[in-house]
C-alpha cells in the first residue's frame, strides 16, 4: 500500500468517526493537517466532497483559522512567540536577527525548503519569555546568539 493510500485511510477513519457531519469540520481539518502535514487544495476538495459541504465553506474555514497551514512547511520550523510578554522582552529583535542571518522573512519558507520562519500569538511560556520554538524544542529566556546557534545546529544536521 502506498503512503498516500495509507493517509487516505486514516482520513477516512476520522471522517467516519465523525459520521461525515459538517459540524465536525474543524476536528477533521485538525486531523487532516496532522496526517498530511498541511492542507493542500486537493485535500480540501476531498474533504468538501466527503462532508457534502461547498468548497467555499471548507476553504473559508481553513483560511479563517491561523492554525491551519495551506502550504507545505519547511523541513525545519522556527516559530517566534509574539505574545505580549515576549514582545515586551524583545522577541522582535531576535526575529530580525534570524531574518538577517538566514535570509528569510517571517511567515515564509525558504526556497530550498529547509527552513520556515513563523510567528505565533503566545505559546504560554510567558514567564520564560522571550520564547522561540526550534522544531519541537522551546528555547526560553532566549537570546539572539543562543537561537541562531541552535538553528545552525539543526540546519547543519539536515545537510547530512
Amino acid at each position: 500500500m502506498s503512503k498516500d493510500d495509507n493517509r487516505r485511510m486514516l482520513l477516512e477513519k476520522t471522517l467516519k468517526e465523525n459520521n461525515y457531519q459538517g459540524s465536525a469540520l474543524l476536528e477533521i481539518l485538525h486531523k487532516a493537517q496532522g496526517i498530511y502535514g498541511f492542507l493542500s487544495k486537493d485535500l480540501l476538495m476531498d474533504i468538501s466532497q466527503s462532508l457534502n459541504l461547498p468548497p467555499s465553506h471548507v476553504f473559508g474555514v481553513a483560511t479563517f483559522y491561523s492554525f491551519f497551514n495551506l502550504t507545505k512547511p519547511g523541513e525545519h520550523i522556527v516559530t517566534g512567540c509574539m505574545g505580549t510578554a515576549c514582545y515586551v522582552k524583545g522577541v522582535d529583535d531576535i526575529m530580525q536577527a534570524i531574518e538577517r542571518e538566514f535570509n528569510i522573512k517571517r511567515g515564509e519558507t525558504r526556497a530550498d525548503g529547509k527552513l520556515s520562519l513563523f510567528v505565533t500569538r503566545c505559546i504560554g511560556a510567558c514567564a520564560m519569555s522571550p520564547a522561540i520554538v526550534v522544531d519541537a524544542e522551546v528555547i526560553g529566556k532566549a537570546t539572539k546568539e543562543i537561537v541562531i546557534e541552535r538553528i545552525k545546529q539543526v540546519l547543519g544536521g539536515a545537510k547530512e
Partner: protein
C-alpha cells in the same frame, strides 16, 4: 458507582497517601515541561529507589505552583519546600540531603514568601498538590463531593440560588452575574440544552486557564456537571485552543476517568442525571473566545460573532439554550456548593466577590501565575507579589486585560482590581493578563503592537473593526517612522471612540483600549514622537526594509 462509593475511594486514597512520609511534587505543566520537568520527574523516581526511600516518598507529577520563571519547580511536602531550577543532575543531592538526612538544600530553595503571602488560592487550591492524571487524587481532596451534595440534597433551583447568592461573576472578562445567567438558561425553551466551557485563552500573555486545566481538570468537569444539573443540560463542550496540547491531553484523560467511574455519561452516580462532555479544538482565532463566535466555531464554522439578541441563553448551539462559561468560573462552583454562597460572598469586595487568577508577566521580578482576592490593588500585585520591576528598569506602566486592555501609569496603581474600577480607568479585567512595562518599552510602540494584533484577529464582519483598525495602524506606522503630524492625535482619539462604540462584538469594542489609554496617560510620548521624532526607549524610527 454509587454515592457512598465516592466516600470510600476518598478514605482509601487519604490512607494511601498518609502511608508516605514525604511527597515530592514535580510540576509538569507547560511552563516547566519545555525546560526538562519530565526528566526531573524520572530522575526523582530513580533517586528514591537508589537511596531506598521509595516507601516513604511518593513522587508525583503535578500541575503548576505558580513560580513559572524558576522552572522546573519541585515542591516537597510536608513543609512546602519549593526547589527552583531543578535539573536531573541536582536530584540526587536533593533526595540525599532532604529526604535521607532531613536537611533541605538551602541553596536551591525558592525563598520568596512575598510571592505567596497576598495570594488566595481557591480556584488553584489543588494546583501543584494533586496529580491531575489521577482522579483519585482529586477525590481525596474532597473532589466530586459537591456534585454528590447537589444530586443527593439539592434541587436545581437550590443550586442556582447558592450560585446567585455567592455573587460570582463571569471570569471570562465581561463579569456577568453567573447565577443570573444560569437561571436564564434554565428558563430557556428548547431541548437539549448545552454547556460550552470556554478555554479559548487567546490573549497573548495569558495562561491562567491553561494552567488550571493542566493542574486540576476535574474541578472544571465538576463545575460543568453541577451547572448541567442546575440548568438541565445534557451535553457539554470544552472549547480549547489547539496550541495547548498538554491541557488537551490532561482533559481528555480526566474525561475518560470520570466516564469510567460513572461521573459522566448516563445515570451518573446511579441517579437519573445524565451529562456528557466532549472537547472541541480551536484553531488560532482570538475572536473565537467571544460568546457567539465560540458557538459558530463549535458548530464547525468560521468563528464570526453575530448580533445579540437572540442571546445564547435562548438560542445558542444549534438554536438551543446554551450556557457559555469560562472554565475559571466553573472551577469556583464546587466550592460554592460545598461552603455555601454566603461564604463565597465574603471574599473579595461586596460587588465583586471571590478571587481572580492572573498571569503576571513582563519586566517584573517574579513573573508567574497568581490568584488574588478581588479588590487587591495593582500596586500590591506588581510590587508585593511581583516583587517590582526587574533590575535596571524603572516602572512605566502596567497593562491589564490583554491586547484589548488598558495601559495604566504609576499614578493609578492604587486602583483596586475589580470589574468596575478597571473599566473606569480604561482597562478591562479581560481573561486575566497583567503585563508590566518599564522604561525600555515605548508606549506608542506598545499601542501599535496591540493594534496590529487586533488587525490580524479582526474577523472582518463589521466595518468599524475591519476598516477602522487598519486605519489606526496606518497612523501608528506614520508616527513611528517619522511622518507623524499633530492632528494625528485627534484622529486617533476620534477613530478609537468610533471603533469602540460602533463595533459588533467585544473584540472591536475593546480593541482601541490600548490606544485610548496610552493617549490619555502617555500623550507626551506621542508628542515627542511627532515633534522631536525621538523615541526614548529606542523602539521606533528604525529603518525597516520595505517588502
Amino acid at each position: 458507582m454509587k454515592l457512598a462509593d465516592l466516600q470510600t475511594i476518598a478514605e482509601h486514597e487519604v490512607d494511601f497517601q498518609r502511608a508516605y512520609k514525604y511527597r515530592i511534587n514535580v510540576c509538569c505543566s507547560s511552563g516547566c515541561v519545555p525546560f526538562g520537568a519530565f526528566k526531573v520527574l524520572e530522575a526523582f523516581q530513580e533517586a528514591v529507589k537508589e537511596f531506598g526511600v521509595e516507601r516513604e516518598c511518593k513522587v508525583a507529577r503535578t500541575g503548576c505552583v505558580g513560580t513559572c520563571s524558576v522552572g522546573p519547580v519541585v515542591v516537597i511536602e510536608p513543609g512546602d519546600y519549593i526547589y527552583q531550577n531543578v535539573t536531573p543532575e541536582k536530584v540526587r543531592e536533593i533526595v540525599r540531603d532532604h529526604i535521607v538526612l532531613g536537611l533541605p538544600v538551602k541553596g536551591m530553595l525558592y525563598s520568596n514568601e512575598a510571592f505567596f503571602k497576598k495570594q488566595k488560592r481557591l480556584v488553584l487550591r489543588n494546583a501543584g498538590k494533586i496529580d491531575p492524571y489521577r482522579i483519585q487524587d482529586y477525590i481525596a481532596m474532597g473532589g466530586y463531593s459537591a456534585l454528590v451534595k447537589c444530586l443527593a440534597t439539592m434541587t436545581p433551583q437550590g443550586v442556582i440560588y447558592e450560585v446567585s447568592s455567592s455573587g460570582l461573576r463571569g471570569r471570562g472578562g465581561a463579569g456577568f452575574p453567573t447565577g443570573q445567567k444560569w437561571s436564564l438558561v434554565a428558563r430557556g425553551h428548547g431541548s437539549p440544552k448545552y454547556i460550552v466551557a470556554n478555554l479559548d485563552e487567546g490573549d497573548p500573555g495569558v495562561f491562567a486557564n491553561r494552567t488550571l486545566a493542566e493542574a486540576d481538570p476535574h474541578a472544571i468537569l465538576e463545575g460543568m456537571l453541577i451547572a448541567a444539573y442546575a440548568i438541565g443540560a445534557e451535553k457539554g463542550y470544552i472549547y480549547i485552543r489547539a496550541e495547548y496540547p498538554l491541557a488537551i491531553q490532561t482533559l481528555q484523560r480526566a474525561i475518560a476517568q470520570a466516564k469510567s467511574m460513572s461521573l459522566l455519561g448516563s445515570s451518573i452516580l446511579e441517579t437519573p442525571f445524565k451529562f456528557g462532555v466532549e472537547l472541541r479544538l480551536g484553531a488560532g482565532a482570538f475572536v473565537a473566545g467571544e460568546e457567539t463566535a465560540i458557538l459558530a466555531s463549535v458548530e464547525g464554522r468560521r468563528a464570526m460573532p453575530r448580533p445579540r439578541p437572540p442571546y445564547p441563553a435562548n438560542s445558542g448551539l444549534w438554536g438551543k439554550p446554551t450556557l457559555i462559561q469560562n472554565v475559571e468560573t466553573l472551577a469556583n462552583i464546587p466550592q460554592i456548593v460545598l461552603n455555601g454562597g454566603l461564604w463565597f460572598s465574603k471574599i473579595g469586595t461586596p460587588k465583586c466577590t471571590g478571587t481572580k487568577c492572573f498571569s503576571l508577566t513582563g519586566k517584573i521580578s517574579n513573573p508567574g501565575l497568581i490568584e488574588v482576592p478581588m479588590g487587591i490593588t495593582l500596586r500590591e500585585v506588581v510590587f508585593d507579589i511581583g516583587g517590582g520591576v526587574q533590575e535596571n528598569g524603572k516602572f512605566k506602566a502596567v497593562l491589564v486585560g490583554g491586547p484589548s486592555g488598558g495601559c495604566l501609569p504609576e499614578t493609578l496603581l492604587e486602583q483596586p482590581i475589580d470589574y468596575e474600577s478597571l473599566k473606569k480607568v480604561g482597562a478591562i479585567m479581560g481573561s486575566g493578563g497583567i503585563v508590566v512595562l518599564d522604561n525600555h518599552s515605548c508606549m506608542v510602540d506598545t499601542a501599535k503592537f496591540f493594534t496590529e494584533f487586533c488587525v490580524d484577529e479582526s474577523c472582518g464582519k463589521c466595518t468599524p473593526c475591519r476598516a477602522g483598525l487598519p486605519r489606526v495602524k496606518g497612523i501608528f506606522d506614520a508616527i513611528t517612522q517619522g511622518d507623524g503630524r499633530m492632528e494625528d492625535i485627534a484622529t486617533l482619539e476620534k477613530t478609537g471612540v468610533y471603533i469602540r462604540d460602533a463595533s459588533l462584538c467585544g473584540l472591536g469594542q475593546t480593541a482601541p483600549n490600548p490606544v485610548i489609554t496610552t493617549l490619555r496617560y502617555f500623550k507626551d510620548e506621542y508628542i515627542e514622537h511627532i515633534v522631536k521624532k525621538r523615541c526614548k526607549a529606542g523602539k521606533c524610527f528604525k529603518k525597516e526594509a520595505k517588502p
